[in-house]
């Protein structure tokens, strides 16, 4: 039976979104000026004409949009002048997600995204506005209704997740364009005002470090707070529903997001521990899903934060098809291997001390600056050293029908689970010392858009070759 859903009229606004700053706001600003001061700028009539034209096209595009669900396929028709019709076999769907922002709540609409593996990373294949009732109906047709186990997570746990996944860089990426655009729109030098404010605050703080360090620290702290708050409100009210076939995730405070995907679409599961989570001994469990998009890349957080034992129990319960019971290959725990795992952190620490001392001797004027940078770098090196030691103790690789690998990736501890068939590339890396000690590093890359990878170090070369031959039937 064919069921066709039409788009919600609010989709017209979606089509107008690219013209918001270049056309819509200037027209509104011009009209306000005209009403307030009886003054019309030279290009207002032209802008208004263009706006009416674009609005007409947007309305026609919204009216020509439709989604049809047949027995085994989904057809998406769109376009007014440039018509396009896409047919997707339902078995090829990776995930569907719906998002409701305050405007959607007001107009009873939903932003619906349909994702397949063919999509570009971080961008859904099809994104449209539906009526709330239609969205629920479509979701039910695509994924059915099964008995589900519901899991909720406290705000404290979400705060820990947000703390662990936030970064000052993300905050800068999110915040700077908003400040620039708002400044342009209001006709104010907003970015200069913010910088002056930061300059003033940093001037009042007296530390052993030079003022530039204070300024950078304040900028990074503000950026991190922006990133934290964004992540916190995005993940707040996190709710996970699991059944035998599918996973449904709901989250968001201002903007409510709902994502559904079949368990079979999961490419790999990662349990990760970021540097901030390490002191709390907490991990997060996330899944990489083929084609899952819309801002989060294709990574869906399954359990925001929890102890490794708790996460493993959930994993065994819901993703048992990815479990492996084969004995893993590990690096031998002996003095030689401790040396081999820790030689890089030792080298970096030595370099840091040498470069800092030499720099202070050559540039005594910058001593406090060098001291600050050297201390920060030493902190990172010590953390890296502790990770290297952990890699020696817990780094392992298990190759069978399912793959399991544990090690650190940059500064994050990672345990990766996936099916044998989803492994894209296997790299065996041997440096001169590796050849001398008959060891190797094995790098596995998962065949998905996010291409999660993991490298396990200092494994016995002969054992690795034998296991790869047995598992992948590849003669190395």
């Amino acid at each position: 039976m064919k069921i066709t859903f039409k788009a919600h009229p609010i989709m017209t606004l979606t089509y107008l979104k690219p013209f918001l700053f270049v056309l819509v706001f200037p027209v509104i600003k011009g009209l306000v000026q005209y009403i307030g001061h009886r003054r019309v700028s030279g290009i207002l009539p032209l802008e208004t004409g263009l706006f009416i034209g674009i609005l007409a096209i947007a309305i026609l595009r919204y009216r020509s949009f439709s989604v049809t669900v047949d027995r085994d396929k989904l057809t998406v028709k769109s376009g007014f002048l440039y018509k396009s019709e896409s047919e997707i076999n339902l078995s090829r769907l990776s995930s569907v997600s719906s998002k409701r922002n305050p405007i959607d709540v007001l107009f009873k609409s939903v932003t619906f995204s349909v994702n397949t593996e063919a999509g570009r990373p971080s961008k859904p294949d099809f994104k449209f506005k539906l009526y709330l009732s239609d969205a629920k109906h479509l979701s039910k047709i695509l994924y059915g209704e099964e008995e589900q186990k519901v899991m909720r997570y406290s705000s404290l746990r979400i705060a820990v997740l947000s703390m662990a996944t936030s970064s000052a860089i993300t905050g800068l990426v999110l915040g700077v364009p908003v400040i620039n655009r708002t400044g342009k729109l209001l006709g104010l030098a907003l970015s200069e005002m913010v910088f002056d404010e930061i300059n003033q605050i940093s001037g009042k703080v007296n530390t052993v470090f030079p003022p530039v360090v204070n300024i950078i620290t304040i900028i990074l702290a503000v950026a991190y707070t922006v990133s934290f708050l964004t992540s916190f409100f995005k993940n707040m009210r996190f709710k996970l529903r699991m059944s035998d076939e599918k996973v449904e995730i709901q989250s968001g405070f201002f903007v409510r997001r709902r994502t559904e995907f079949k368990k079979s679409a999961v490419k790999n599961i990662c349990m990760e521990q970021s540097p901030i989570m390490r002191p709390f001994k907490m991990f997060t469990m996330r899944a990489a899903i083929g084609g899952y998009g819309d801002g989060k890349g294709e990574k869906a957080v399954i359990v925001p934060v929890g102890r490794l034992r708790e996460l493993k129990r959930q994993f065994a319960e819901h993703f048992s098809f990815l479990q492996t019971d084969k004995e893993p290959i590990t690096a031998e725990h002996n003095k030689l291997n401790i040396r081999r795992f820790l030689w890089l952190p030792q080298l970096y620490a030595g370099l840091d001390i040498t470069v800092s001392v030499v720099s202070i001797l050559i540039f005594p004027y910058f001593d406090r600056m060098v001291l600050f940078l050297g201390t920060v770098l030493m902190g990172i090196i010590i953390y890296y050293g502790s990770l290297s030691y952990r890699n020696m103790k817990y780094g392992r690789l298990s190759l069978s029908e399912n793959i399991f690998a544990s090690n650190s990736v940059r500064l994050t501890v990672r345990e990766l689970y996936c099916k044998k068939g989803d492994i894209g590339t296997i790299k065996i890396i041997r440096t001169l010392p590796d050849i001398k000690y008959n060891a190797c590093k094995v790098q596995l890359v998962v065949r998905s858009e996010s291409a999660d990878k993991i490298t396990v170090r200092n494994l016995d070369y002969n054992t690795v070759i034998k296991e790869i031959e047995q598992c992948f039937e590849i003669k190395v």
Binding site: K73, E85, E87
Partner: protein, 142 residues
């Protein structure tokens, strides 16, 4: 099953490129002062456009061979450099048809086949042929 692109596709693309070249020449003519030296690039562009539209495009569209068999869809094309794209059915995620107002007047529509991290574009073909291809691919019957 092996097929080629219809003659109408060539005409459609000749119309499109002619429009582009005419616009380009029009824009250049609008911004320059006419003299023998300035007319030279326009004439050069016109000759280049004529060669491209009347000689290269017919050869290029003639070279298109679309083969649909039990395992994959193959598209071969190229005048100077021959290129063959093969998309096995298990790799195909979804198929998409597209058409512009002029293409619709000719009764043509193009097809895009999307795979994970890849796509294959087949230029405008007869609407009915495209429909058969799309139905077969999305229903998994091809």
């Amino acid at each position: 099953m092996t097929s080629r692109l219809p003659e109408k596709t060539l005409i459609l693309w000749q119309i499109r490129f002619t429009a582009v070249f005419v616009c380009l020449i029009g824009v250049i003519a609008f911004f320059i002062r006419f003299s023998l030296w300035t007319l030279l690039p326009i004439a050069f562009l016109a000759v280049l456009g004529a060669i491209f539209i009347l000689w290269f495009l017919p050869l290029y569209f003639k070279s298109f061979i679309i083969t649909v068999d039990d395992t994959a869809i193959k598209v071969s094309r190229g005048v100077f450099i021959k290129l063959t794209n093969i998309m096995p059915y298990p790799r195909l995620v979804f198929a998409q048809s597209f058409s512009t107002p002029v293409a619709r007047k000719f009764g043509l529509c193009g097809v895009t086949l999307r795979a994970a991290r890849g796509l294959l574009v087949i230029p405008e073909m007869e609407k009915d042929d495209a429909k058969v291809l799309l139905d077969g691919l999305s229903g998994g019957t091809v």
